[in-house]
C-alpha cells in the first residue's frame, strides 16, 4: 500500500520542528532566568547594602559615647554612683 508523501514529510518534519522549538524554548528560558538572576543579584546587593547601613546606624546609635551624652542630658548617673 502506497503512503501519501505528505504524511512522510510530516513525519520527518514534525520531530525536527519539535526539537527546534524545544531548543528555542530552552534558549528563551535561559535568557529569562539570566535576566531574573541579574535582577536578583542586584536586589541582593541593594538589600545587603541596606542591611550593612542599618547595622552601622544601630552601632552608631548605641555607641557608648552617645548614650553617655544622652544620659548626662537626662541627668542620669552611672549605676551605683549614688551609693556609699
Amino acid at each position: 500500500m502506497r503512503q501519501d508523501p505528505l504524511i512522510w514529510a510530516l513525519a520527518i518534519a514534525a520531530p525536527l520542528v519539535a526539537v527546534g522549538l524545544f531548543h528555542a524554548w530552552t534558549h528563551v528560558q535561559t535568557l529569562r532566568l539570566g535576566y531574573e538572576l541579574s535582577d536578583a543579584v542586584e536586589k541582593r546587593e541593594v538589600l545587603e547594602e541596606q542591611n550593612r547601613a542599618l547595622r552601622m546606624e544601630r552601632s552608631t546609635l548605641r555607641a557608648p559615647e552617645r548614650l553617655e551624652r544622652l544620659g548626662r542630658e537626662m541627668k542620669l548617673a552611672p549605676p551605683g554612683s549614688e551609693a556609699h
Binding site: G34, A63, P79, G80
Partner: protein, 745 residues
C-alpha cells in the same frame, strides 16, 4: 484534450497547462484555498492582458493560441527544469554554506558571537567587619558614591568645571584639566557625601557619572582607633588590625561571565557566586566597646589633668589574658585621617617602651619568694632611705625607713629593699625571672609593630645595674608586656600571652573561635596569693590608695620612673613616667589594668597621677561585668576642679619613692652603657655645685641665682657640659660656664 472558448481566466490557465496541470488544477480547486491563491496572480495577469487587448477574444486567436501552446510545451518544461535545477543548486549551496558555518567554522564564529555579546560582570567583595566581643560593629565597609567622568563626552570642559567645582569642592583649574584629558575615565572626586552626590545628579552634566565604591567606616570614630588601625582609599589595611589581618579582611574579586542584550543589560547565564563568599572575613575582638570607651575617657581625663605628653591604658581579662580595652593618648579619628599626625596614630601600648619603675618590683619580689630568698615576713633594712652600693648611692628619696618586711617595703615602694632582694637573687636568677614574666620578648599580640623591650645580657650587668633593674630602671618594656606580667599574679601564677582577636568569621554569621594559646605556670599559686596580699596592702595602706574601690579589694602597684633625656643621654630630672598597675577584685581577679602617663606635669607619682584613672577604669570594667560599683566619696574624679585642688601635687613633693631618684648616684654604669648614658645625674645636695647637664638656659639661670653664681653660656639649647663639675664645693659668686647644644643637633 478538452477545449473551451470560455475566456474565463480560470479556463485560460487550464488551457496553458497540460493534462497533469489540469488535474492538479482541479485538485487544487477542490482542495480550496491554496490552489486558488496560487492561481490568483495568473488570473490577474490574464485579466490585465484581456483589458489591454493582448489576448484575443475571437475563435481564430484562440486557435492560434492552442497551436502555440502545443508547440511551446517542451520549452516550458525545459524552463521548469532549469528553474528547479537552479533552485536545487541554490538550496544545495545554502545547505553547504550553512554546514560550513555550523560545523566546520563553528568554534570561530561562536567565539566571535560570544565576544560581541559577552559581558563580564565584576563582583567585588567588601572588606569584612570588625566587631567587639558582643558583636557591636567597630569597623564596617559601606558603599558610597564616587564622581567620575568620560572626558570624551564633555563638550565644554571649562564650563563643566565651573559648574562642578563648587559642588565637588575641588580646584576649578584642576577639574578643567581632568575634563580636558584625552582619557576615557577620570576620577573627579572619590567617595563623596550623599549631599554632594545628590547635587551632582541634579547638575546632570554630560559625561559625568556616579559609580559606587566601598568606604570603610569606623562607627565609634576615635573608639579603639589605635587597635583597629585604618585602611587606605583602595581598601588596603595600613595600620593596626586592619593591616595585620588585611588578607583575611579584604574581600575577593570575582569575574562572572554573562551576556549583554541589545540594550546592554547584563544577563547572568552561568549563575552567580554567593556574595558572602566574596566578602572578606570578619573579626570578632575580645574588646568590650563600653569598657573601651570608659577606658579612653578616663585616660584622656588623666592625660589632660596631668598635662601629660601621652598616656596608655590597658585592660586584660585576668583569667584569659584577652585584651578587653586598650587606649592610647593622643588619639585620632580613623574616619578623618587627614587631621592626624604620625605621633597620634602610634599605638603606644605596644610600640612604646618605657622604664617601668616600681611596678617592676613585683617581678623582683616574686623571684625572691619563688627562689626562697625571702618571705613576705622577712625583714629588710631600708637603710633610712640612703644606701651606698657599688660606688653609688641608692635612695628612697622621700621617706627614710629602717627595718621593713618585704610586704611593707613593697607597700611603701622602697628602692633599697628591692635592690637588696635583686642583689641576693643575683644576675642570672633575676634575668631568668624577667624572662619568665615575658618581659624580654614581644607578647605576640595580633598587632603590628610590637616592640619587645630592652634588656642587656646579665653578663654585662654590673652590681649597680643589678640593683637598678631590681627596682625597674635600666630595663625598658612595653606597657602590654608590663600588663602581662601583672596578669601573671592575677591569674594565680599562670602566664598567658595577651590576645585581641577572639574569633574569625568563616562565612556569614559563622564564627570560628581563635585557638587557645599555650599557657605557662610561672609562679606557684601560694606565691601569687602572697604577692596579691602584698599588692592589696599597697592599695589599702601604701602608695596606691587612690586606686581603692569601695566594696572591692584591689591589688596594685605604683610606678614612677625617670626618663632618659635624649640630648644629654642622662636621666632627666624633669621628665618622668608615672604608672599604676593592678587587678581586682583581689580575691577573684576579673581584670588586670595598667595606666601609664608619660611626662605628667601635675604630679610625677604613679599613685597620684595614674591611680585615679586606674580606679575609674577598673570600676567601669567591673560594672560591665554586672558588679555594682560606687565611686569613693573622698576621691573626686580626676579632671575635675575638686580633684585638681586635692590631688595636684607639685613635682618633687613627698609621695611614693620615685625610683629614678634613687638613681641619683646609682645611675648605673651599666645603665649608662646600655642606654648610652655618659653623664651622671646632677646632685641636689646643698653646698655643692648642682648638676646642670640636661637643663635649659632658664633652669640654669634659676640655679645660678639661687647659688649666687654667674652663668656663662656657650652655645644654645641644653647643657651638655659644665664647669665646675657637679658635686664640687660651691663657691658663692663664682662663675659657672655651661656649654650648650641644641636638642637635635
Amino acid at each position: 484534450m478538452a477545449r473551451t472558448t470560455n475566456m474565463d481566466p480560470d479556463s485560460v490557465g487550464v488551457r496553458l497547462g497540460n493534462a497533469a496541470d489540469v488535474k492538479a488544477s482541479r485538485r487544487s480547486r477542490t482542495k480550496g484555498g491554496v490552489g486558488k491563491k496560487r492561481e490568483a496572480p495568473v488570473k490577474r495577469r490574464l485579466q490585465a492582458q484581456i483589458r489591454r487587448g493582448t489576448v484575443a477574444k475571437t475563435k481564430s486567436s484562440t486557435k492560434r493560441t492552442e497551436s502555440r501552446t502545443r508547440t511551446d510545451a517542451p520549452a516550458i518544461r525545459f524552463r521548469q527544469l532549469v528553474l528547479v535545477l537552479a533552485l536545487a543548486v541554490v538550496a544545495c549551496v545554502l545547505v553547504a554554506r550553512s554546514a560550513q558555518l555550523q560545523l566546520m567554522d563553528r568554534s570561530r564564529f561562536e567565539g566571535a558571537a560570544l565576544a560581541q555579546a559577552r559581558h563580564v560582570v565584576e563582583l567585588r567583595g567588601r572588606r569584612g567587619p570588625i566587631v567587639d566581643r558582643h558583636g557591636a560593629e567597630l569597623a564596617m565597609s559601606l558603599d558610597v558614591e564616587t564622581v567620575v567622568a568620560d572626558p570624551a563626552q564633555v563638550k565644554d570642559p571649562d564650563a563643566s568645571a565651573r559648574r562642578l567645582a563648587p559642588i565637588l569642592r575641588v580646584d576649578r583649574s584642576k577639574l578643567a584639566k581632568k575634563l580636558s584629558s584625552g582619557r576615557r575615565f577620570v576620577y573627579l572626586r572619590r567617595r563623596v557625601s550623599p549631599r554632594i552626590a545628590t547635587s551632582i545628579r541634579a547638575a546632570s552634566e554630560p559625561g559625568v557619572f556616579m559609580i559606587s565604591e566601598p568606604k570603610r567606616f569606623y562607627g565609634g570614630n576615635r573608639l579603639a582607633a589605635h587597635l583597629l588601625g585604618f585602611s587606605n582609599i583602595d581598601g588596603a589595611g595600613r595600620a593596626g588590625l586592619e593591616r595585620r589581618y588585611d588578607a583575611a579582611l579584604r574581600g575577593r574579586h570575582a569575574r562572572l561571565d554573562g551576556l549583554r542584550d541589545g540594550r546592554g543589560n547584563a544577563v547572568l547565564v552561568d549563575g552567580a557566586e554567593a556574595a558572602q563568599d566574596l566578602d572578606g572575613r570578619g573579626l570578632r575582638l575580645s574588646l568590650d566597646r563600653t569598657v573601651q570607651h570608659d577606658t579612653e575617657v578616663a585616660l584622656a581625663k588623666a592625660v589632660r589633668w596631668q598635662r601629660a605628653r601621652s598616656g596608655v591604658a590597658i585592660v586584660l581579662d585576668a583569667q584569659t589574658s584577652e585584651v578587653v580595652a586598650m587606649a592610647s593618648q593622643p588619639d585620632f579619628n580613623p574616619n578623618d585621617l587627614g587631621d592626624s599626625t604620625a605621633s597620634e596614630r602610634r599605638n603606644r601600648a605596644v610600640e612604646m617602651v618605657y622604664e617601668p619603675g616600681s611596678t617592676f618590683k613585683i617581678v623582683t619580689v616574686a623571684a625572691a619568694l619563688e627562689e626562697g630568698v625571702a618571705s613576705p615576713e622577712r625583714r629588710l633594712d631600708c637603710e633610712s632611705g640612703k644606701w651606698r652600693f657599688g660606688g653609688r648611692t641608692i635612695r628612697d628619696a622621700d621617706h627614710a625607713y629602717g627595718d621593713l618586711t618585704v610586704a611593707e617595703s613593697l607597700s611603701v615602694s622602697s628602692n633599697i629593699c628591692a635592690a637588696k632582694l635583686g642583689i641576693e637573687l643575683g644576675r642570672d636568677r633575676l634575668h631568668r625571672w624577667i624572662q619568665r614574666f615575658g618581659l624580654t620578648r614581644a607578647t605576640g599580640i595580633e598587632l603590628p609593630a610590637e616592640a619587645r623591650g630592652l634588656l642587656r645580657s646579665p653578663r654585662s650587668w654590673r652590681d649597680i645595674a643589678l640593683a637598678n633593674i631590681s627596682f625597674g630602671q635600666g630595663i625598658a618594656v612595653t606597657p602590654l608586656q608590663m600588663a602581662q606580667a601583672l596578669n601573671v599574679i592575677a591569674a594565680g601564677g599562670i602566664r598567658r600571652a595577651p590576645r585581641i582577636v577572639a574569633a574569625t568569621e568563616l562565612e556569614q554569621g559563622h564564627w570560628v573561635e581563635a585557638p587557645k594559646l599555650r599557657s605557662e605556670r610561672v609562679l606557684r599559686p601560694e606565691t601569687a596569693t602572697a604577692l596579691t596580699r602584698m599588692m592589696v596592702g599597697v592599695v589599702e595602706e601604701g602608695t596606691g590608695q587612690q586606686a581603692a574601690i569601695p566594696g572591692f579589694q584591689v591589688a596594685g602597684k605604683t610606678g614612677t620612673a625617670q626618663k632618659i633625656d635624649p640630648l644629654t643621654r642622662a636621666y632627666s630630672r624633669e621628665d618622668y613616667v608615672a604608672s599604676f598597675g593592678g587587678f581586682g577584685p583581689a580575691e577573684a581577679p576579673e581584670f588586670t589594668v595598667l595606666v601609664v602617663l608619660d611626662e605628667p606635669q601635675g604630679s610625677i607619682y604613679g599613685g597620684i597621677a595614674a591611680a585615679p584613672a586606674f580606679r575609674q577604669i577598673l570600676s567601669a570594667a567591673l560594672r560591665a561585668r554586672g558588679h555594682v560599683v560606687s565611686e569613693p566619696k573622698t576621691a573626686p574624679a580626676p579632671g575635675t576642679e575638686a580633684s585638681a585642688r586635692t590631688q595636684l601635687v607639685p613635682k618633687g613633693a613627698p609621695g611614693e619613692a620615685p625610683e629614678a631618684r634613687g638613681l641619683e648616684f646609682a645611675l648605673s654604669d651599666q645603665a649608662k652603657a646600655m642606654l648610652g648614658l655618659n653623664e651622671s645625674l646632677p646632685s641636689s645636695d646643698p653646698g655643692v655645685v648642682p648638676g646642670l647637664v640636661g637643663l635649659g638656659a632658664h633652669e640654669v639661670l634659676e640655679r645660678c641665682e639661687k647659688a649666687g653664681c654667674v652663668p656663662i653660656f656657650v652655645g644654645t639649647g641644653r647643657v651638655v657640659e659644665q664647669t665646675p663639675a657637679s658635686g664640687t664645693a660651691m663657691v658663692p659668686g663664682a662663675t659657672w660656664q655651661v656649654r650648650m647644644k641644641p636638642r637635635f643637633d
